[in-house]
Symmetry: none
Subunit: 235 residues, 2 copies
DNA sequence: AATTTAAGGTTGTATTACAAGTTATGGGTG
DNA sequence: CACCCATAACTTGTAATACAACCTTAAATT
């Protein structure tokens, strides 16, 4: 996985994996299309079916391919965000992870808020307002964390940049876990910042949106760090 | 075998997959630990080695397990915050345009350069210098693009933030494709900026490193956009 | 013409055998 | 005794074969 430099000894299934992946990347096999059968690939690449299946299994696991018994193997149309994210139900975050996560969020979300202020449409803003309000009024911690996560997700979508959106989707479980911890520690106080950010975005004030977001995350991180100290590092 | 109750018709390897995943999540098998051998699992779960291997392959693909030939299979030590392998499918399938990619890069890499200036050690800097020099001297476009990608990867590592590093690793294919296009269009001119960035990082000047990186990406994007216009949009 | 049946193709599983690589075990040598 | 090294004993990787489960298609029957 981490071989930008190809000093790693490649196994047969690794080569097949790269080869199949390449066929998808180059567009030789388009999304939704059926790829050659396993037996055909055996002959073409001159390897055993075991190696073919190993590669296909891995590509399926990361959501690139999808096999249907008796039918064939297809290139996935839309990314398998849902099925991938549901693979790991709940991951507990340790202290160092929280800090790194906050650092990463601050980088990506502050700028995202700025972009959102430039590109959000009326529907986006309305939905943000709604989520901020529901979060403020919610009393159930799990619901609160959920509205929290959705709000930040909505900002990502408002950037109109699919890569940013995708990063959020992929991190959504981790996000939820992090936000749940925050809510448990400090309640739904974050909702106030959400409303400020909404206003800034609505008035197309990019700089202000970034500033509020920066404050929002910084204070959250600080409080989480302080409270985290007292109780040592548990879950 | 003992089938966990499930209404849906689950394949054998699916059940093994769930079973193994559960052992990892519950902490029965801790990170870094070696899990039972495939033959042992065959007997315990009363299934063939094929099914065991299929499940292990999938768990490896999503970064939960790691197999080493002749040695055994181990639970990955990476924390849960980094299970974002699934960005790959999206990038590969949807092929976001160069503009979105550049926008994303600008967000994450400018800040990364700033963090790197604060946290890079001597080895990091030396390796950066080396990569910048090799890129400048290289005449082979593919090599040039490779050194280019490695340089930016090195900056990510210098941030000491595993999430940032992981995002780069996961985007590496897309990165390489993008950089290859850049090199084809404008040669290894970017190497000059790399050297400037090196100097800024070495002198721990965070603001300067960010500024150079911002310039670097902005000019690259501009040139790519101009040249891209002339020849229509390819890949 | 509509339905049923059969055939062929495709993925899923099992079994066996061996290759490739690592670790542990001994035994012989200095 | 300490050391080296061959060897055995695993462990994962690959191959080949056979069959099961499932789907699609087309021929055959009603």
């Amino acid at each position: 996985m981490d071989n930008l430099q190809n000093n790693a000894r490649q196994s047969v299934s690794d080569m097949v994996f790269e080869r199949l992946k390449r066929s998808i990347i180059t567009g030789e096999w388009k999304p939704g299309e059926k790829i050659p059968s396993e037996n055909q690939l055996c002959k073409e690449l001159d390897v055993s079916r075991v190696s073919i299946r190993a590669a296909i299994n891995r590509l399926s696991a990361i959501g690139l391919l999808e096999s249907r018994q008796g039918e064939g193997t297809y290139v996935c149309m839309r990314s398998g965000a849902e099925h991938i994210n549901s693979i790991i139900p709940y991951i507990v975050l340790e202290r160092p992870d929280r800090i790194n996560m906050f650092e990463f969020r601050k980088i990506i979300e502050v700028e995202s808020a700025g972009l959102a202020a430039m590109r959000a449409d009326v529907d986006n803003v309305n939905e943000m307002r709604d989520l901020a309000a529901r979060m403020r009024e919610s009393s159930d911690p799990e619901q609160t964390a959920l509205f929290d996560a959705e709000f930040h997700y909505m900002i990502a979508k408002a950037t109109r940049n699919p890569i940013i959106v995708r990063v959020f989707e992929v991190l959504q479980d981790t996000y939820y876990a992090l936000l749940k911890q925050n809510v448990d520690m400090m309640g739904s106080y974050g909702a106030r910042y959400h409303e400020l950010i909404c206003t800034a975005i609505e008035s197309r004030d990019s700089a202000l949106a970034k500033r509020y977001m920066e404050e929002h995350l910084s204070t959250s991180m600080r409080i989480a760090a302080e409270l985290g100290e007292q109780r040592g590092q548990d879950a």
